[in-house]
Amino acid sequence: MTETDATFEASLDELGVSVTRTAASEVGAALDEAVREPAVGVAPEDEFTETSLPFTEAGVELDPTPAALDEARTGVSTADLGVADYGSLVLTQTDRGSELVTLFVEHHVVLVHEADIAPDMDTAVETLEATLNRTRGSVILATGPSATADMGALVRGAHGPESVHVIVIEEGT
């Protein structure tokens, strides 16, 4: 594990976010372990898996209807970037509804490639600047579960997910 990976995991740990590391070929098993059913997800790009089979095998319904999303407990998505020193994940909004799947659920499972973990926020923002200038897209820099302290004490799970699990896909496997 590189230093960046170790920092990333330590940051996630501090946020109360659990992590598993897996080979690309084992994503299905990692997902199976991480999701609470019913689970929905946004179809991953090919870069993550050859097929969407691991998702469906793990019981994750891809491209769900809004009603199915409303019923789901878990939302599975990918992150384009991780930020090691903060434990943040860059969730890019798509016309396939990734924003809905990552937000309107109680448990968020995120897949991120080891190679996409930036060492620090400075590097991450630099990457985002280039991306947003090219795509004019929208991203969420998400760090840990949603939270509030407005009701007199810190509570996880305000309007968004109350828990997050990260699956790091190792390189060269």
């Binding site: 769900p64 809004p66 924003e99 947003l132």
Partner: protein, 726 residues
């Protein structure tokens, strides 16, 4: 201006919750920024970006407008609140919307858009849990980041149980949150329009940054098809890359979180499909993304602030709340007293003066004592006390000049239009002190005598519960003049600045300073020099302070030219020389004095560091001290020097960490503020009476702090320099 009764009532009803929350945020800030190895660099970077952006604002607004329009959105620049509200009402009417959901936005509070929309029959729902609590309770925010900071969990539970009458009464924070989430969740997915603020907007791509934790801003945007964002025109920064220092600083500076859960970087209209959650047939990817976006940028006085030499800095503010949380007075009373129409805390004086007018700023501006603890806390380095001083000066000049008979002879000041009587009395305290010493002990008897105290209470609003300073017949300068130096072959030569209090009241600490420095081989002279101008400056009497600054530098300049160092005992005066004189003098004059003057323990520390024989320092076997450093001294980073020297002398030193003692010069003497001053002081008392501290000898550097501690404790505090001259 809040009266003593109003402040007392606020402290009774809201004080405990406000104190607990703000102090928690403040401690969190110290912890969180300590993790940043490049904290100071990030602050400088953030400051530079804001300076540049405000400088180029008109161009950036054009560039931003082009970008948003290219993206398919609309930009509207509103002159004022009414203009903005008219536009927003039209958008909502065009959409034929019954409900608008909002995420937290101070700018939307500023324009009071809720009232405007509700008058049109639109259901407006606040979705930030804190804002929603206030909407249900029909109360105003008391803090710019955590609006319901003044409400305890118990009071929220009581409110919800009464208003909503749930099957099971709600009690824990968890239950309250879940209940609110459920209620609001239904309303969000049913709404047509989502209204958000924006923490930053980048001119290059039309991207807006929203800094949140709950996820309600994300839902507000995702679940509606029409997005209105309202933001002050000052929120524009040049590029997405410029967001970097702010992303690292904003959460840490405010609530002490390294980063909030969600920093949304939205380039609306967003790509997320618009869905009906009851649809059980159409997959997400087959819904269209037909969305409208309106960016409403609000001037409302900001462009005029940009042209105002002193208020301009306010526009750099990123609304993080660090100035509120680090403020001792705010920690006691919160934003319901320390705030205007919309904004609260130290920087609110700038916002309210610029947006609403001087009269609104005048309502709470006196609560800034100039302690300067917010200066280092501000992530964009705004000199918040200076903005408060300038506004106070303007308020003074707007007020009618009151009857002057009582203090006429005591007010040889430069204020052509006159500050209020009480401010002029405290502002001209040098004259009072001179007269006090000249006529002591008679002056002391008179001051304590019934009729005088009555007159002071009646005409100057000096609280009768305060002990008044006792003037010494022989001033520090007179004493020094009558003795010869004990140093034959000096290593260094210094001027000890005879500040107002050392000269007339606490003469002993002056004598101790001379003796301690002479023992270390320093030739000392104590010339007669005007008072620093701290007293008039704290009353907003800038012209008078400027006159003092000129007289002080004129008197000290020949000594400095002659190779003498300037040693300052009173930290608030040392801070004048180091900070405020920059605003009052030309650069060369300021620099000459600033570079050659030292706080007394900074000077002793420097002597020791530069090889002065420490045998001259008196040592003790097992002295145990509790040291309270002065607020302005800590802002200058000069607490450590005193501690280091005392430790060299063999003392075991523990330090207080309250932001201010609460006395703050004349503040604690004023009838309106006496109880607030004591409430702030209670936090220091608690620390000085804590286990392991309660039996320590107390030392403090500031005159005000010494007076306050004297009032708080049985133990008599001393200035630490007196320990070096024993």
């Amino acid at each position: 201006m809040a009266s003593a009764d109003e402040l007392r009532e606020l402290m009774r009803t809201e004080g405990a919750a406000v104190a607990q929350n703000t102090q928690g945020f403040n401690e969190g800030r110290y912890r969180s920024v300590a993790d940043l190895s490049d904290y100071e660099e990030l602050k400088s970077e953030a400051r530079a970006i804001k300076e540049d952006a405000i400088e180029r604002l008109p161009d950036l607004l054009d560039q931003l407008t082009d970008a948003v329009e290219e993206n398919g959105g609309t930009v509207y620049i509103a002159d004022d609140a009414a203009d903005a509200n008219d536009y927003i009402r039209e958008v909502v009417a065009d959409r034929d919307a019954d409900r608008l959901v909002k995420s937290k936005s101070m700018t939307s509070e500023e324009i009071e858009v809720n009232d405007a929309l509700e008058a049109d029959g639109v259901d407006v729902v606040e979705t930030d849990l804190g804002e929603w609590v206030l909407q249900v309770a029909d109360e105003a925010p008391s803090h710019i980041v955590a609006p319901a900071i003044h409400k305890s969990r118990e009071s929220i539970a009581e409110l919800f149980n009464e208003v909503f009458d749930p099957d099971q009464p709600l009690e824990t924070a968890e239950e309250l949150t879940r209940f609110a989430r459920g209620k609001l969740g239904e309303q969000i997915v049913d709404a047509e329009v989502g209204l958000t603020g924006a923490n930053f907007v980048t001119a290059d791509t039309g991207t807006m940054a929203l800094v949140t934790s709950e996820g309600n801003a994300r839902k507000t945007v995702a679940a509606t098809d029409t997005h209105i964002a309202v933001a002050g025109v000052e929120k524009v920064i040049p590029t997405v890359g410029d967001l970097h220092p702010f992303v690292e600083l904003i959460g840490r500076s405010g609530t002490g979180q390294d980063i909030t859960s969600y920093v949304s970087l939205l380039t609306p209209p967003v790509d997320t499909p618009v869905v009906d959650f009851e649809d059980d047939e159409t997959p997400l990817s087959e819904h269209d993304t037909d969305r409208d976006f309106h960016l409403v940028l609000i001037d409302n006085g900001r462009l005029a602030m940009r042209e105002d030499e002193h208020l301009k800095e306010t526009l750099y503010c990123i609304r993080c709340s660090a100035c509120s949380n680090s403020c001792a007075n705010f920690q006691s009373v919160g934003g319901h007293a320390f705030g205007g129409e919309t904004y609260s805390g130290g920087i609110a004086t700038g916002w309210e003066a610029g947006i609403e007018g001087l009269d609104v700023a005048a309502e709470f501006n006196d609560l800034c004592t100039g302690c300067s603890r917010c200066v280092n806390a501000c992530p964009v380095g705004i000199d918040i006390p200076w903005i408060n001083t300038v506004v106070r000066d303007r308020v003074n000049r707007e007020d009618d000049r009151p009857a002057e008979w009582l203090v006429d002879g005591l007010t040889p000041d430069e204020e052509d239009k006159g500050a209020p009587l009480q401010k002029r009395f405290f502002g001209n305290f040098e004259t009072v002190a001179k007269l006090g010493s000249a006529t002591a002990p008679l002056s002391n008897w008179l001051a304590d005598a019934g009729p005088s105290r009555w007159a002071m209470a009646r005409f100057l609003d000096i609280d009768p519960r305060r002990e008044l300073p006792t003037f010494e017949r022989e001033t520090f300068v007179d004493w020094a003049e009558r003795r010869d130096s004990t140093v034959d072959d000096p290593d260094r030569r210094a001027v000890v600045y005879p500040d107002l209090y050392t000269n007339h009241v606490q003469v002993e600490r002056g004598k101790a300073t001379v003796k301690a420095l002479e023992a270390l081989g320093v030739d000392v002279t104590v010339p007669s020099v005007a008072s620093s101008g701290r007293a008039p400056l704290s009353q907003g009497m800038v012209a008078t302070a400027e006159d003092h600054a000129e007289r002080v530098t004129e008197a000290l300049a020949p000594h400095v030219a002659d190779g003498r160092d300037v040693v300052v005992i009173e930290p608030s005066d040392h801070a004048m020389f180091q900070r405020e004189y920059e605003k009052l003098l030309d650069e060369a004059t300021f620099t000459e004095l600033a570079e050659n003057s030292y706080e007394v323990f900074e000077y002793v520390y420097g002597l020791v560091e530069n090889g002065t024989d420490t045998d001259a320092l008196p040592t003790v076997e097992d002295g145990r001290l509790a040291y309270h450093s002065h607020c302005q001294q800590r802002t200058l980073g000069l607490e450590a020097h005193t501690v280091a020297v005392l430790e060299l002398c063999g003392y075991d030193v523990t330090t207080s960490d309250v932001e201010c003692c609460g006395m703050a010069g004349s503040f604690g003497y004023k009838s309106d503020y006496y109880e607030l001053s004591m409430d702030v002081g209670d936090r220091l008392r608690d620390q000085l009476e804590a286990d392991g501290v309660e039996d320590r000898q107390v030392v403090a550097s500031g005159t005000s702090c010494l007076e306050q501690i004297d009032a708080l404790l049985e133990r008599q505090p001393r200035h630490p320099i007196e320990l070096l001259a024993e």
